[in-house]
Symmetry: C2
Subunit: 140 residues, 2 copies
């Protein structure tokens, strides 16, 4: 498929696809006219890249870890340099911490929303609003 289709199927701008290629995150063969040519797998690949990017990893890191994540359980240790293993371990850590933080804050938001919904349910439309509500007390 050409870049336009890939862009549409991954909800990613052409510009970004070219950028990802430039960063070595995806590869494309070229037709005789110079047009990029992608295979089916590129769709998943792009989606994964976007996921990692959205998860906060920089392209530099994604490029390093991507080969280890190839879906068809390809175990190819040969080019796993110790340096790269170190990067992976580090990033694993960082991701875990990031996810924890994310979930912690997410739960806090969810809790808040629940409380708000309960409040709204108990006090349907038109109920007078207290101009300024309970202020906090204890620290940290």
């Amino acid at each position: 498929m050409r870049i336009g289709e890939l862009a549409e199927r991954t909800a990613t701008s052409r510009r970004l696809l070219r950028y990802y290629e430039e960063q070595g995150l995806i590869i494309a063969s070229r037709g005789p006219n110079g047009y990029r040519d992608y295979d089916e797998a590129a769709v998943d690949r792009v989606i994964q890249v976007r996921g990692l990017l959205d998860a906060g990893l920089p392209t530099r890191i994604i490029k390093q870890i991507l080969p280890c994540l190839d879906k068809p359980r390809t175990i190819y240790f040969p080019d796993a340099t110790p340096e790269m293993i170190a990067t992976l371990e580090e990033e694993l850590d960082r991701m875990t911490r990031r996810a924890e933080c994310l979930l912690r804050n997410r739960d806090a938001i969810a809790e808040y929303l629940d409380a708000v919904r309960e409040y709204d349910a108990a006090r349907p439309a038109g109920t007078p609003q207290p101009s300024s509500a309970s202020r906090h007390a204890s620290s940290s």
Copy 2:
């Protein structure tokens, strides 16, 4: 405490602290000389902001959700506009998806690392490396 101490205690540059303040993420009172003056709670606050930032939320959003996350279970619904609730719900979703992606990829990396370690354990130093290993087959 003054900005220097806060910077040290949160491992955040002074510049960034001023930036967060500019973005409305933290507040500081001022001494008679114009120096910023932070209370104990600022430390946690900054750490939380950094966490959210690291989790991928832009300052714009953090500013909106931060008041709902105040630790001492402060329930103050009055200023929870419907618009803000919507933002929260949206962000909640986004965070959940982000966390999922993060964990999915983290697990994939962990799995890979485990496999590598097993491989290394079975084949201690000096074992000949196959120049190029198994390539994948199935698609997607």
